[in-house]
Symmetry: C2
DNA sequence: TAAGTTTCTGAAACCGGTTTCCTGACCGGT
DNA sequence: ACCGGTCAGGAAACCGGTTTCAGAAACTTA
């Protein structure tokens, strides 16, 4: 801490002016005569003075920081989410404070701590109890991601109903009869909505859905576990598998190939996310593209906006991306996309 | 902001005591008579008073936060890094401020901003200029990750020389003659050290190394690109490929399989990291296990430790993990590991 | 030249806690 | 009854900025 003694008053003294003038110069808030400004700037430059963040924050009554609460980092979804959020926040001059819940019990308390040091907080679904979200919403601006809005906070999510379109494609266009769904609805509004869209599409098509989803988590390794459940331990192998995200889909494909099954010949597979790898594997992964980065940046923008706005739910459009893994012709030219019909703000 | 008016003085007034007493109760720093403590606690409880972070930080002259600077989030390496760091920091009561450089030019300035709001900063290799690292080191405690220490800051890294052991295994034990190396040394001390270990092993074994590395980045998609370069555009296909990390190795394997090549029959592949997926693919990926989480937690611990310690370089041990992709028998029972000989602190 | 504006600057109050310093009460001991 | 010692708790200073307020100086305008 070489320069722990350089504060406004000290700089003011060196430059022969008042602390007020130093403040005015350092933040450029008001007119200062060229001569004094010059004197002050020289001292600032010379001693590398940077206004103490706390003094400033205390006086301004704002933190200049946003909080981001998410369950844990696994895979490209959360990576993209964090990057997008961080990038947008920095663009508007805000710092980002991170809180990973790790699904642990004392997260609620940590969130309340965090609420005391940020101007706004983005909370991903499945991390903290509704009661705490509510409580925090009353202190600072809160936006929840991938969930519904509440009385005092807005939300941003993506349109999961497109899984219905995808399921209909498998049932109707390709004529698959025994579909499986890989993912755990409980604790994730996203997976819940996808599972429900999967069921709804079966109803509409007059097809019989599986008794329940194949319950695994969302990492690539979980796809390998699902492969074991579906291909080794099950008596009737499905002819198409709808996965809750791309990672499990890739894990599942690797598991299928490892067992000598052809994809999509013996089993068709679809994902959700359209992560970069989805276009690179062979066959290409049929999936739903969701704008994760936009999800994050929109969230950050809402947090930065004035508190007066009451935004409700923002739902971002998603697209079906048809590649080879569902049985379609895998054209290396741009894949066919079906735009979902989700509206903007509700 | 329902409770923006609840501060020490207000609570003090409500409880009929002085602000000093409220402070003493809220932080439990000194003896307060049971009766007053009770009165104060009731008011605190009732109105959900939480001491303003800035007031406290300003008075205590510490931020209660650590900064983490890294290039970008791609893949499990950085995910694990952030999680480990965040987890350790929270355990000691520190918050985490995130700064992702995105390889952009104005990172240096952002880092200096960040330095003004944290007690210590972890900087990953390849994010900011040495000069800035040096400058920040003079203000706060700095630990660099995956690089060497400097005059004023410590470092934590992992032992990359194990790539030499792995390369020797390919050359000597398996007898491969044409090896390739996938990764870009420039800008990454880790990849540089791995490439050098790769070259050194060739020299020791009297083998001829490739003219240069196959230059791609570290994401899974880059492995697919490397596959194109090595299998489609090259005249002499290598019989073994050493990848700078597991992600590119997996991308490369997918690329090889997609071209009808057998792994390891036609081409052997190795990685670095031992990410979870490495054990799940078939054949299992031969790789080097590095303790990423320990790298992160050690870094956080060093930052939390008193400033007086001069730690220099900490190098964490890494292990060769032999699975099927190099041509070894892929025993599903625990893989053989060769422990590296790296010391602890230097 | 007098009156009215505008522009610049410093003194002082304030943001919300923490901590030092000091007073007054209470204790046991002689 | 008097004295030294301990302890609880309040007044005030301080952490490092920002901002309001008011006064002084410079410049217009009549």
């Amino acid at each position: 801490m070489s320069n722990s003694r350089v504060n406004v008053r000290w700089v003011a003294e060196q430059a022969g002016v008042s602390p007020a003038t130093v403040s005015r110069v350092s933040r450029g808030s008001a007119q200062v005569s060229p001569e004094l400004r010059e004197r002050v700037l020289r001292v600032i430059e010379e001693h590398g003075y940077r206004p103490n963040h706390f003094g400033r924050a205390l006086a301004e009554r704002r933190h200049g920081a946003l909080g981001l609460v998410f369950p844990g980092l696994s895979g490209p979804y959360f990576s993209e989410l964090i990057q997008g959020f961080e990038s947008e926040a920095l663009a508007t001059g805000d710092q980002v404070l991170l809180l990973s819940s790790h699904y642990s019990a004392d997260t609620d308390d940590k969130v309340l701590d965090l609420a005391a040091r940020v101007d706004g907080m983005a909370i991903h679904a499945g991390t903290v109890s509704d009661a705490v979200v509510e409580q925090v919403s009353q202190q600072i601006r809160v936006v929840v991601m991938a969930d519904k809005a509440g009385p005092a906070h807005a939300s941003v999510s993506t349109d999961n109903s497109t899984v219905g379109t995808l399921t209909r494609h498998l049932l109707v266009d390709h004529g698959y009869r025994r579909l499986a769904f890989v993912g755990t609805p409980e604790g994730s509004p996203d997976v819940t909505a996808r599972w429900e869209a999967f069921l709804a599409a079966h109803r509409e098509a007059g097809a019989v859905p599986p008794a329940g989803p194949t319950l695994v988590a969302l990492a690539q390794a979980d796809g390998a576990i699902a492969a074991q459940k579906l291909f080794d331990e099950s008596d009737a192998r499905p002819d198409a598998v709808v996965c809750a995200n791309d990672e499990t889909a890739l894990g599942l494909i690797l598991g299928a190939l490892g067992r000598g099954l052809r994809v999509p010949g013996d089993v068709a597979v679809t994902g959700f996310d359209d992560m970069p790898m989805a276009a690179l594997v062979r066959p290409g992964l049929t999936t739903v593209r969701q704008p994760v980065r936009e999800l994050a940046t929109t969230t950050a923008q809402l947090l930065h906006a004035p508190l007066t706005q009451q935004d409700g739910d923002t739902v971002l459009d998603t697209d079906v991306v048809l590649r080879g893994s569902c049985g379609c012709q895998d054209s290396s030219g741009g894949p066919t996309t079906h735009r979902s019909s989700a509206g903007g703000d509700s």
